[in-house]
């Protein structure tokens, strides 16, 4: 039961309210001014709403009718058709027949979450509301218990992230290639929705191309001619054409402690051999694409085949080498070095350790010098190779694939068979038979005729990676099942779903074996596996994919704050913001903490750059660590995260509406309907005075067409106005102090982030349900329907009963009806 304090009104409106109400009624009713509400609504009833009494409990039925009469039918009748809907379209007795569930679920949500009746209308008493919603919920839940409906997702294709993780796990190949596959369309907030994952010939071409590359790389047949791989050190571009910034700190965990600047990236060496690492350094020109030959530094290294981190960096200095003087030239300030360049050491770093170094001048002045003299830094790192290949190498992928090596030509087919059996089982997520291996061996045989053993194996791997058995999650309807009936999916199908959910990848051998033996869904086993999978680093996928979309973290990469308004927004801040939210999310999941920490945690994960951004100056270093907030830190919970505050803003100003809408949609599952198109622009000045956000929003309330939705959204967003468009704390906007006192439609007052946290905590069950909905959508790969709502309620309830711990929510999903069953297709 929702515990929001309500502005109590009498259940019957005072006479003063009547004329307003009456003026909206059809003319023939207005004459009845003297009637009480009941008779008025009876009149309306007579003309529009027809109820039939349910079979039993007529007394309860009549109190339900009275409830609907009193509080709903005034607007939701055939004449007024408020919200395009009339009570005459539904009948309480329908629930028992499973009809109009969508409508009744909506009615339940609206009434129990106090969305309806609207604030200015007569409100039911607590008791009345409890009785009505109690009846409604138990009817809906009761129907669902008697006639469970698991729904059905269409044949589900692996999306881009899942495909690339599956390849990584199948071939033990640490090679990033997901960027070579097109992005998938999303719906219901996620890009793993089965219905939307289609196959086009464009995609098929990409699969062939990518599968070819990774299969050859994994087998050790990558390019033998030198190939150039280029890595741009992320810089964020030049600020105001002043050259590309560089920072006096360690830029990657793959670079040595005590290093500064430069960058590192993952490189996959196709063979053992020589490789040339080279880097372009910055000159302080004002053109960031300049890669000048005189700034190129090279070194040859020996690399073993496989994945490495390759980087270049300088050494951190207490006193910087350059000393600059500043000259004034009209309005430009030009810092120019006062001394000739000194010599600096540039390290070449492979797998975290320096393997060589070069001496470079501490600056390079170009004739087109920029206005700011940045520290010497690396702009781009190239790796070229292999030169003089010495062997295919001993890589994790070769070891995984070649579980045998044929000694003679005659032993090849047997070895091939063995290899393919193991790979196919893993790739197809089920035991395989000669029916599966036969066709694969045919491909092997055809290729083996004019190529060697390893090439043939690589080609079969390519075939597996584009085959439907790998790409699609095949779930069969039992042959004798009736259309529209439900059936339990088998353990193997369950394992595939579970590993897509928690790892966005294939089930591993342990999971597969348990599923084969039909043990996976035994309660103790399932619990143990859940814990194991969440603690495995593969569950980072949950953070990247679920949280990345739920919290809009993926948008951070594309979000462009205005450089004029925020000249300090740099690539380090962008990356740190994201990392904070990722660590926060994965921490709660792995510690099995309460989901309410998403709302009001008093800690987060910071590094120096982010801490500086938050105004906390006792955090040093580039590493992230957990930080407990002091009461005056003005942070805490998701809504204090710079990431969320940034992606819900525009490039140069905050958006009360975007933030309010995000909260309603993603934390409370109560999204407002879309705005009408012809919205006049926000008035930003009035009478010569600049308006701040609060004043602009006030204009929303003046127009009733806008007010109905905005009274819900605006207060939430307004309470966050002290966080600017990149999430920094501020006290002043448009020249005046910011006031973050807000009022909800029901009259509740609250202020700032703390107040907002309280408001959300008071709706903690609604939040728990909202999070369950998000997670369940992601887990099922389909949008939720009315028949899923009882499941959502049940999971949220059990989570709440277990102190709101998040793994309880996971377990609830894993043991739920839709996750374990599937509806057979109707004819």
């Amino acid at each position: 039961m929702i515990e929001l304090p309500v502005n109590r009104q009498k259940t019957r409106p005072r006479p003063g309210v009547m004329p307003f109400v009456l003026s909206r009624l059809p003319g023939r009713v207005i004459g009845r001014l003297t009637g009480g509400i009941i008779s008025l609504s009876a009149l309306l009833l007579g003309s529009s709403v027809a109820f039939s009494l349910p079979a039993a409990d007529t007394e309860d039925a009549s109190s339900r009718e009275e409830f609907l009469d009193t509080y709903c039918s005034r607007c939701h009748n055939d004449e007024r058709l408020s919200g395009n809907w009339s009570l005459s379209m539904v009948n309480p007795s329908d629930i028992a027949k499973g009809r109009d569930l969508e409508a009744w679920e909506k009615i339940f949500r609206m009434t129990s979450e106090r969305g309806m009746p609207p604030p200015k209308r007569p409100q039911p008493s607590e008791a009345e509301l409890a009785e009505f919603t109690g009846w409604l919920q138990s009817s809906l839940d009761g129907y669902s218990a008697s006639y469970p409906n698991p729904g059905r997702a269409t044949l589900r294709r692996l999306n881009r992230a899942e495909y690339s993780n599956a390849v990584r796990d199948l071939l033990a190949l640490d090679f990033e290639f997901s960027g070579q596959l097109p992005a998938d369309d999303s719906g219901y907030g996620f890009d793993n929705i089965a219905d939307l994952l289609s196959v086009s010939s464009t995609l098929m071409d990409r699969y062939f191309s990518v599968a070819g590359k990774v299969s050859r790389l994994a087998v050790g047949l990558g390019p033998v001619q030198p190939v150039l791989t280029v890595f741009q050190v992320p810089k964020g571009g030049s600020i105001l054409n002043q050259g590309v910034p560089s920072y006096n700190e360690r830029m990657s965990p793959d670079l040595p402690l005590g290093s500064r600047g430069g960058g590192a990236f993952r490189f996959y060496a196709p063979h053992d051999g020589d490789y040339e690492i080279s880097g372009y350094l910055n000159a302080n020109t004002n053109n960031e694409v300049d890669r000048l030959e005189e700034n190129l530094v090279k070194m040859r290294v020996k690399l073993t085949a496989g994945a490495h981190s390759i980087g270049m960096s300088f050494r951190k200095q207490l006193v910087l080498d350059e000393s600059v003087q500043t000259l004034r030239n009209d309005t430009d300030i030009l810092p120019l070095p006062t001394q000739p360049p000194r010599s600096m050491t540039l390290d070449f770093v492979v797998d975290g350790r320096p393997v060589g170094s070069a001496e470079v001048p501490s600056y390079h002045m170009s004739e087109r010098f920029a206005q700011v003299n940045f520290l010497r830094d690396v702009l781009q790192i190239n790796v070229e190779g292999p030169f003089s290949v010495t062997g295919a190498g001993d890589t994790p992928s070769r070891r995984k694939i070649f579980i045998c090596q044929p000694t003679t030509i005659r032993t090849e087919p047997a070895c091939a068979s063995k290899i393919l059996y193991k790979l196919a089982r893993h790739a197809y997520r089920r035991p395989v038979t000669s029916q599966d291996i036969g066709p694969l061996l045919d491909v092997y045989g055809a290729v083996r005729e004019d190529a060697d053993f390893e090439t043939a194996i690589a080609t079969v791997i390519q075939a597996i990676l584009v085959s439907p058995g790998f790409l699609f999650l095949a779930e069969q309807d039992p042959p004798d099942s009736l259309p529209g009936s439900r059936h339990r999916i088998n353990d193997l199908e369950f394992a595939a779903r579970m590993s897509l959910f928690l790892w966005s990848s294939l089930p591993d051998e342990e999971l597969l074996t348990l599923a084969e033996k039909n043990k996976l869904r035994r309660p103790k086993v399932l619990k143990r596996q859940l814990k194991r999978m969440l603690l495995d680093s593969k569950s980072d996928a949950l953070t990247h994919n679920f949280a990345g979309q739920w919290l809009y973290l993926r948008n951070l990469e594309f979000h462009q704050p205005d450089v004029m308004a925020f000249p300090d927004f740099d690539v380090r801040l962008r990356q740190s913001m994201r990392r904070e939210s990722e660590l926060f999310f994965s921490g709660i999941v792995r510690r099995d903490a309460s989901v309410l920490e998403f709302i009001d945690a008093n800690y987060s994960f910071l590094n120096e750059r982010l801490a500086t951004h938050y105004g906390l100056d006792d955090i040093q270093g580039t590493e992230f660590r957990r930080v407990e907030f002091q009461p005056d830190a003005n942070r805490g919970g998701l809504l204090g995260h710079a990431s969320l505050l940034t992606v819900t803003s525009y490039g140069n100003h905050t958006s009360v509406v975007k933030r309010g809408q995000w909260i309603l949609d993603h934390l409370l599952a109560a999204p407002p309907p879309p705005a009408p198109p012809d919205v006049p622009a926000l008035v930003s000045r009035q009478g010569g005075k600049a308006l701040n956000a609060r004043e602009q929003m006030a204009l929303h309330r003046e127009d009733p067409a806008c007010a109905s939705c905005h009274v819900k959204m605006d207060p939430l967003g307004l309470s966050l106005e002290k966080y600017d468009a990149i999430g920094a704390y501020r006290l002043v906007d448009a020249g005046r102090p910011i006031d973050v006192a807000s009022i909800l439609p029901d009259g509740t007052r609250f202020e700032g982030l703390d107040g907002l946290q309280q408001v959300l905590l008071e709706q903690k069950d609604q939040f728990t349900r909202a999070l369950t909905e998000q997670l369940l959508t992601y887990a099922l790969g389909r949008g939720l329907k009315a028949y899923d709502r009882p499941t959502v309620r049940a999971i949220a309830r059990s989570t709440a009963e277990d102190d709101y711990r998040i793994q309880g929510m996971f377990l609830g999903i894993l043991t739920s009806e839709p996750f374990n069953f599937r509806r057979t297709m109707e004819e």
Partner: protein, 447 residues
């Protein structure tokens, strides 16, 4: 102006490692290399569509006067040099992009209606429904002759969350090409991927290796086809549809291999350097994609190409022209003069890019004339005035194809855009009496 081999601005993409230098001196790769001959005297033989997102401010787009030698409107000024090669058409509308009783989602509907004239079904799920698009009608006929029936290109990946139209799956705003009412065609945004797709990873291989590679691919295709047929038998009807999509795509790949095998000569891609990725700046990215399109047409790899300058509901900021605000946000200007001014800038900037496309095609020899002479080019947006999601007064520019230029054809208000689509279909030599919600054709087009 002939474009030099080393497009010096673009080879500066050595910042990205390698450049896409288009080496195609006309002598090196004449389209006759593929044995293709066109009856380029009478009909345009290619189609190119250029799509601009988030509508067009019609007050700045519509020229003051109609007829020949009309004065260029402010938005059209960037096209001044090519005035003889294109016509502006106004008075067009897509009635099916209106709500017609459906809730929200103007952008989803308008983008879906742009080349289809169909009323899109509002859904986020499996029951996507629109209509076949004009380019696919043409591709169904022209595409039989080429390796790729059509090419769908874009600049924006579809990954921004919360930025698709409410109630409409992102599919509706990510693409303008529909192969069938239920099958949308995704766009490719990475030049490297486009290049690889067009010219295959057989670039640089000798004949023997190429044949070997094709044989292997064929074995794989046989295998996956059998696998799919076997799987399909055990699936429910709805799932079978998905498997059908898969099979269809496999057949496409097979068909292409067949064509390649039947070709006598191979395109010498030795001089083409693989682009290494997506260029940093918008303009570079766009122009590289245009260059790829021109390359594809020159080599007769495809004859139908659609290009989305941005996805519908694009939020891109154009800082390079002094507009740091997000495009979609500006398009709902609410009458604010400053926002309108910025929006005008964006519209002009987009048309400047269109000018590049026209100039490139005009500078490329094709048989007896230029590529532009032989290509029917259509540029437009799916909304007119974006502030009110107006789909009843739409901008349209038709260029090339040997059609008369330097005209502003002001059609009667609310002429169905589908009529123009139908005219274009017929101009491409595809027999058709009806398209989308057409009520006739636009005869002025070919007069």
């Amino acid at each position: 102006m002939k474009h030099p081999l080393s497009l010096s601005r673009r080879t500066v993409l050595r910042g990205l490692g390698t450049a896409m230098a288009l080496p195609l001196m006309e002598a090196m790769v004449p389209s006759a290399a593929f044995g293709a001959t066109f009856d380029s005297v009478s009909k345009p033989s290619r189609l190119s569509v250029f799509y601009m997102p988030n509508g067009m401010r019609m007050d700045n787009f519509t020229p003051a006067r109609s007829g020949r030698d009309y004065p260029l409107s402010p938005t059209l000024e960037p096209l001044a040099a090519m005035k003889d090669k294109f016509s502006v058409i106004t008075g067009l509308s897509h009635n099916n992009a209106n709500a017609l009783g459906d809730p929200g989602g103007a952008h989803g509907r308008s983008c879906a209606a742009f080349l289809t004239g169909a009323h899109a079904k509002p859904t986020e799920g499996s029951d996507l429904y629109c209509g076949i698009s004009m380019d696919q009608v043409i591709a169904n006929q022209l595409g039989k002759e080429t390796l790729f029936p059509s090419l769908e290109l874009g600049l924006e990946p579809s990954s921004l969350l919360g930025s698709c139209d409410i109630g409409f799956s992102c599919t509706y705003t990510n693409t303008i090409s529909w192969k069938s009412p239920t099958q949308a065609l995704p766009v490719m945004v990475n030049p490297r991927d486009v290049f690889e797709r067009l010219f295959g990873d057989s670039a640089g291989l000798d004949e023997n290796s190429r044949q070997l590679q094709m044989r292997r691919k064929t074995s794989i295709l046989d295998f996956v086809r059998q696998d799919a047929i076997r799987m399909a038998r055990q699936l429910g009807a709805n799932d079978q549809r998905k498997m059908d999509e898969y099979l269809q795509s496999v057949r496409e790949v097979e068909r292409r291999i067949q064509k390649l095998a039947n070709q006598e000569t191979n395109l010498d891609t030795g001089n083409l350097i693989l682009p290494s990725g997506i260029p940093d700046t918008f303009e570079d990215h766009l122009q590289l994609m245009v260059d790829l399109q021109v390359l594809a047409m020159q080599t007769d790899t495809t004859r139908v190409c659609t290009f989305m300058l941005g996805r519908e509901l694009s939020n891109r900021a154009y800082t390079e022209i002094g507009v740091p605000d997000s495009h979609h946000s500006l398009s709902h200007h609410g009458g604010n003069a400053e926002k309108i001014e910025k929006l005008h800038k964006i519209n002009r900037y987009h048309l400047k890019q269109f000018a590049y496309l026209l100039e490139r095609m005009d500078a490329t020899r094709d048989g007896e004339g230029t590529l532009l002479d032989n290509t029917l080019v259509f540029a437009g947006a799916s909304l007119g005035e974006p502030n009110k999601h107006d789909c009843m007064d739409l901008p349209a520019i038709v260029a090339g194809g040997g059609l008369l230029g330097n005209r502003h054809i002001a059609l009667p208000q609310h002429t169905p855009m589908s009529n123009l689509m139908l005219s274009m279909i017929q101009a491409m030599g595809v027999e058709s009496e009806q398209f989308g919600d057409s009520t006739g054709t636009v005869p002025e087009l070919s007069s």
